[in-house]
């Protein structure tokens, strides 16, 4: 589904990702872990199409297409979803209008008829229940005045609405209490389909108690320095990242 080869990315001439290789197949859950500043969010943003970052070499193929030459909106319509580490507040743009536009743009792309207002509201209700998001939140402006936890739940809600093929969740667990964490993880698990895949980016092993990954990667200093099964998470939990830092010090 997703194949990243020798991806190098810099910002303002400063290299951040230094040759990433990653293969994700349908049905898989990958976890990317690693200390702060390793480049996890950069990788996620580049996959979603953030133009701020400069891809200096390498390629990314998603569903047979060269992802890097597509606009962010086209990537989204093809099924890529980025759960933001820091979701953006957009005062004045209502959640309803935002989601309705997004859902219908995707349907247009898929040559499906646009949803009527009542069908759309029905879909919203269903998905809200699924991710246990407070009903009031969708009556407000996008993320405006939402608490940290509410913002993260809202990301999962949007994911539920858009039913992506590849969801990339950037530290969706950070700043959540145990209840919120469970809800977010449940949402992710319920939305999993055999033809979809998930990349969870996380700092802590905690989330991986709820979302069981097939493969764990450790990203450090712009490179994937370790790839293993879920047992790697326990090792990291126990020993922290220091041993990785030592082993791969520049």
């Amino acid at each position: 589904m997703l194949s990243i080869k020798k991806l190098k990315v810099s910002i303002n001439g400063k290299p951040i990702l230094k040759g990433i290789n990653l293969e994700v197949k349908a049905g898989e859950v990958h976890a990317i872990m690693g200390p702060n500043g390793s480049g996890k969010s950069t990788l996620a943003a580049v996959l979603a199409g953030r133009e701020l970052f400069e891809v200096t070499s390498g390629e990314v193929i998603f569903e047979g297409k060269n992802l890097l030459e597509l606009l962010p909106e086209d990537r989204a319509r093809m099924g890529i979803f980025l759960g933001f580490q820091y979701p953006i507040e957009i005062p004045g743009v209502s959640m309803v209008n935002f989601m309705k536009t997004a859902v219908n743009e995707k349907r247009k792309y898929q040559n499906l008829p646009l949803l009527s207002s009542s069908d759309f509201l029905k879909l919203m209700r269903e998905k809200k229940e699924l991710v246990e998001i407070d009903s009031q939140l969708t009556n407000r402006s996008v993320n405006e005045g939402f608490s940290g936890g509410e913002k993260k739940k809202n990301e999962i809600f949007q994911m539920a609405m858009l039913e992506p093929k590849l969801a990339i969740l950037d530290e969706t667990d950070s700043g959540l209490d145990i209840d919120a964490l469970r809800i977010v993880a449940n949402g992710v698990n319920k939305l999993k389909r055999p033809d979809s895949a998930t990349i969870v980016i996380t700092h802590y092993q905690r989330l991986l108690d709820y979302i069981i990954p097939d493969i764990i990667h450790v990203l450090y200093n712009g490179q994937i320095v370790k790839t293993a099964g879920k047992e790697l998470a326990f090792e990291l939990e126990e020993k922290g990242y220091d041993w990785i830092k030592k082993e791969f010090a520049e």
Binding site: P72, E73, F84, I90, G92, N97, T101, K106, L162
Partner: protein
């Protein structure tokens, strides 16, 4: 004011025209108004048109705006069109409106109506004849402190205009709507004077829509005098929607007494050169004034919005939010001043100007000012000009929303903050639609109205 007489070609023509035609002009109105014409004319003759050297007109060349070969009408001229044929406002609940055509009222049955509750609504000229004692008491009385040469000019030549009189304790829920229509077959200068009086405990909503019918250039120089007496409550909404060859100048004077409340929202959708001056005087305690404005400029349009709020009495509140979206090579200007007198203790005053700059060629000037002589006040002002937020753009696009649609959502959100201050729901919905269409670059025509605004 300096004593030297200011001259400019635009001014000289006006002076000449007045001297040659004052007899015809005077025939329109009773003596008490004609006396005001005379003093206003002298004021104008002395000060002339504001020049670019005038700090308040630094960025808007009024002298140049007056250079057209404008014709003036000194009395009501025969109309060659049937207004009801060419214009229809079909916004729900806004179907009972008065139409001022080129500064005159033409519909005889609707010229002036006195309602059972005592409210008088219609032609100002007619009111000055039928109810001279009411008109005389207020006409030109509340703008002396801020009267400027453009309002003096207006009051010298004053044509007809909207007259609204709300007697004590009268509350009118249905909006009072005026359509200010320009139907020019030649270059025209139109100068209506409007008077709105709210007596104690009265309340009303007033909706004013400016439209132009054909692309002939014109200059509209209007004056609104608004008197809000004790405990009265007024909502005043204005939509400016004229074509690119128009010059639209408005001076609005709002004078408020104890515990009165005035909320005004001005939406400038289209126009060539627009200059709006709003003067607010809070004369007695607990008066509250809220003023909002939104302007959407593109092409070479030039919109200049000024607000001057004077706190003369303690414990009053004023709030201004002025927002502009400027595209292409257009210019959006804001200048605001809050003046707080020494005795106006416990004043609350907030002023904010925000601009969205869509291109590198568009220009924004913003000058919010506070001048405070009292020591126990809460006042603030601010101005922010920026482009569309990049993080927000990426967030929207990452959900599959196109770049164009994302811009549209963000611009509408920016505009909504002002539009939401229109409390009259059908009007708010209509303005929302118009603003949406305008921002999409579509013709912003109201519903099925045949008027081609913004062309």
């Amino acid at each position: 004011m300096n004593n030297e007489t200011n001259t400019s070609p635009g001014k000289n023509v006006l002076v000449e025209d007045y001297n040659n035609n004052y007899k015809e002009i005077f025939k329109q109105t009773p003596d008490f108004i004609n006396n005001i014409r005379q003093t206003s004319f002298k004021e104008f003759d002395l000060s002339g048109l504001p020049s670019k050297k005038d700090e308040n007109y630094k960025y808007t060349n009024i002298e140049a705006a007056f250079l057209g070969a404008y014709k003036r009408q000194f009395s009501k001229q025969k109309l060659t069109i049937d207004v009801n044929e060419v214009f229809k406002c079909d916004v729900p609940e806004l179907d009972n409106y008065l139409v001022l055509v080129n500064g005159w009222f033409y519909e005889k049955e609707k010229l002036l109506t006195k309602y059972n509750n005592g409210a008088i609504i219609g032609s100002l000229i007619e009111a000055s004849k039928q109810y001279p004692e009411i008109v005389k008491k207020y006409y030109g009385k509340n703008l002396t402190k801020q009267k400027n040469s453009l309002s003096s000019l207006n009051m010298a030549f004053a044509q007809d205009g909207l007259f609204v009189y709300l007697p004590k304790n009268i509350i009118i829920n249905e909006p009072i709507q005026l359509i200010n229509l320009i139907v020019a077959t030649e270059e025209l200068m139109v100068q209506p004077y409007n008077l709105i009086i709210a007596e104690e405990n009265s309340s009303a909503n007033i909706v004013i829509c400016d439209h132009s019918l054909n692309p002939q250039s014109f200059l509209l120089n209007s004056t609104f005098e608004v008197i809000a007496n004790k405990n009265s409550k007024l909502e005043i909404y204005r939509q400016q929607n004229a074509h690119d060859h128009s010059v639209q100048i408005t001076n609005t004077f709002i004078s408020q007494k104890e515990n009165s409340f005035v909320n005004s929202v001005n939406i400038t959708l289209n126009g060539g050169t627009v200059r709006n001056n709003l003067y607010v005087e809070l004369n007695e305690p607990h008066a509250i004034n809220k003023s909002y404005a939104l302007w959407l400029a593109d092409k070479n349009q030039h919109f200049d919005n000024n607000v001057h709020v004077h706190h003369l009495s303690p414990e009053c509140e004023s709030f201004q939010l002025y927002k502009g979206i400027v595209d292409n090579s257009s210019t959006g200007i804001f200048s605001g001043k809050i003046l707080v007198d020494k005795k106006a203790q416990k004043t609350l005053a907030f002023q904010s100007n925000k601009n969205l700059l869509l291109t590198n060629d568009a220009k924004v000037r913003s000058k919010p000012q506070l001048e405070i002589y009292a020591d126990d006040v809460k006042c603030s002002h601010g101005s922010a000009t920026g482009q569309l937020d990049e993080d927000a753009m990426f967030y929207l696009r990452s959900r599959g929303i196109s770049k164009k649609e994302s811009c549209q959502l963000l611009m509408q959100a920016f505009a909504d903050e002002v539009i939401n201050k229109i409390l009259l729901e059908p009007l708010r919905n209509e303005i929302n639609n118009l603003v949406e269409k305008r921002l999409r670059g579509e013709l912003s025509r109201c519903n099925r109205c045949k008027v081609n605004c913004g062309q």
